[in-house]
Symmetry: C2
Subunit: 373 residues, 2 copies
């Protein structure tokens, strides 16, 4: 294993926006990067060869879901997650913490870990930092995340309490983690409270993780609150490590967060929106079931080079959506993934070219129109 | 429009099995050919570029479904079915007769046509030969089928009555049909009754269609009855026209029917089986949800060059099926389509090589094992 793995190198910068590369055993990830989400070891409806063609370099998968089905030990026996899902590029697994804490009444947390019931069959399970490390090592992604406690971002007391556990667990995760071919990232928590965020960042920086996530955002706080947190973490986190904003994935958010030093993004939105019959466009979201599209001979977005837009009309895709044909979900997913992956590619190139601010202004103005076509 | 269109040329023959080409405005179809079915203007879950990669040359679409949704006039306005569904190769549309007669209590037939209720919303519609020709011309497939009445194959009286209508309607269809860039095929009916089949073939041959289908088979009669009918139609139908066995599509049937002079096949089975979690293999059908596959590192079929088998294990596909992930349907569909398209490719090559009988014996022996793996 080369010592070069899990190093971040910055190649260009505009203001606080940075373009660089994060090196992993399954390939270099040019950053900033958007990672499509493959919850159950598949980006819903999209074959790996299409992901590659779309320019995806990093795919996220969910530890909670894979632990429950088909099981992390089965995946290890099948050669690990890369081989199991047929994705040869870099992979990232979350810790499952976010999913477990989303179970609400079905989970109970204590200082040692969290006990929860499966959403599949109601069976009882327990995640501790050590258990989660064992699961993530079985999965074998290039980037693993520590177990953290996700608190509602604006509740002060809850966040104080959760932060204490998050830090205890970060230490235990680091101690339990053994795979040298897997980078373990720490997660800065603390809700919308600057002093808690600072306390969290300093604590985790002392533990010297190879990368840091900013967690607990995009879950109810305002955009201004998110930006304030990101401005702060940008100042605190080390320049020579990648920064990951978890669960954030609209084009608008990309620009605002890249401006605040973020390198890595993930979000289920492109495929989830597609399943709901909606498409990203530069003038807002398009409802692909809309009657007005039925004889529309234009592609979802004119000029878009994706497979869906190069070969199919809005009228056809509307017919597929209304007829509940799987191909409709596929084409909308391809388009939506292309939209975000291509936006990120443009962001990277604009940072190299020194034109990031102009691109940001242009794209945010376009996206603000948000007209339903 | 070249006069060469809609000519059939035979290049090789082994016994009664023939290899040749049928020329259409959207390309030459090497025969024998298997046509995947794209009922609602999409082969369920399979993008056109994949169909092309799989070697499909002819795709079938269903007039009944497209007439109801999105409507044949809308498709005409969108540039016709080829353009609408993004398939640049040859297309075939059935007449909708089979679907309408399958509606049982929801349809009423008279000599002029058939009145039926939509399975979508219960609305009342009427198909006459003239109406069906107008719909098929709006769709604009390379091959259109005449409206016929499909009778249960073993009921003598019903078949006599239906045959009279089928012949009346064939004449009216031919009279109403105007597009010179579309071939209209006649359909030989008559159930399992040799005298009715002969009467039907002779009547339709007199009308001089550019191709002939054998209808009303694979709907309840025995294999022996089907073979007897095919032996007869093979003797009666002209050598210089293509012969199409409607709705038949297992590998076993291909060999038996090609041996009896059939050139064209279609069937929904590859994609329908995939949606039910089953795969064709050379040793029978495989239930992809089977628990025994969960840690199986082999592809669906070892040695199979399809995308699914080259990149994914049975264990992974089982996980996708059990998790109701769309990618599972996609991979199984790709494999099943490959299985039938590749079987047909081998049949064509074996006719050229003079080894058809050996291939038939080998494949039928293999397929008879039919072990559930």
């Amino acid at each position: 294993m080369s010592n070069n793995f899990f190093t971040y190198e910055k190649f260009a910068q505009v203001g606080r926006a940075r373009a660089g590369v994060f090196r992993t055993p399954h390939g270099d990830i040019p950053t900033p990067v958007f990672a499509p989400v493959g919850t159950a070891a598949t980006v819903k409806g999209v074959p790996p060869r299409d992901l590659k063609e779309l320019g995806a370099t990093l795919v996220l998968s969910n530890t909670y879901h894979l632990y429950l089905r088909p099981g992390d030990e089965l995946i290890a026996c099948m050669g690990g997650l890369h081989q199991f899902m047929g994705w040869a590029g870099p992979l990232l697994t979350d810790s499952g913490g976010f999913q477990v804490f989303s179970l609400q009444d079905l989970r109970k947390v204590d200082d040692d870990g969290v006990t929860f019931r499966s959403h599949l069959d109601g069976s009882t399970h327990r995640f501790t930092p050590e258990k989660v490390m064992s699961i993530e090592e079985n999965l074998g992604a290039d980037i693993a995340m520590v177990l953290d406690e996700c608190a509602p971002p604006t509740q002060r007391e809850y966040n104080e309490q959760a932060l204490r556990r998050t830090h205890l667990w970060a230490e235990r995760c680091q101690k339990a983690h053994t795979r040298s071919d897997q980078a373990l990232f720490g997660i800065v928590q603390g809700g919308v409270f600057p002093d808690l965020r600072e306390q969290s960042a300093r604590f985790l920086i002392d533990l010297d993780f190879p990368g840091y996530a900013v967690g607990g955002l995009a879950v109810g706080e305002t955009k201004e609150q998110m930006h304030t947190v990101l401005d702060l973490t940008d100042q605190l986190l080390p320049e020579n490590k990648p920064r990951y904003l978890m669960g954030v994935g609209t084009a608008e958010d990309f620009f605002e967060a890249v401006s605040r030093g973020i390198d890595i993004f993930d979000c289920v939105l492109p495929t989830r929106l597609a399943r709901h019959g909606a498409a990203f466009t530069h003038s807002g979201r398009m409802n692909l079931r809309n009657l007005s599209l039925s004889e529309d001979k234009r592609p979802i977005e004119e000029g878009c080079p994706c497979y869906a837009c190069q070969h199919f009309t809005r009228g056809y895709i509307r017919h597929l959506m209304v007829s509940k044909e799987i191909l409709g979900l596929y084409l909308a997913s391809i388009h939506n993934l292309h939209f975000l992956l291509d936006t990120m590619r443009q962001i990277r190139e604009s940072i190299f070219a020194g034109t990031f601010e102009a691109l940001k202004a242009e794209m945010l103005a376009l996206l603000k129109l948000k007209s339903e076509k």
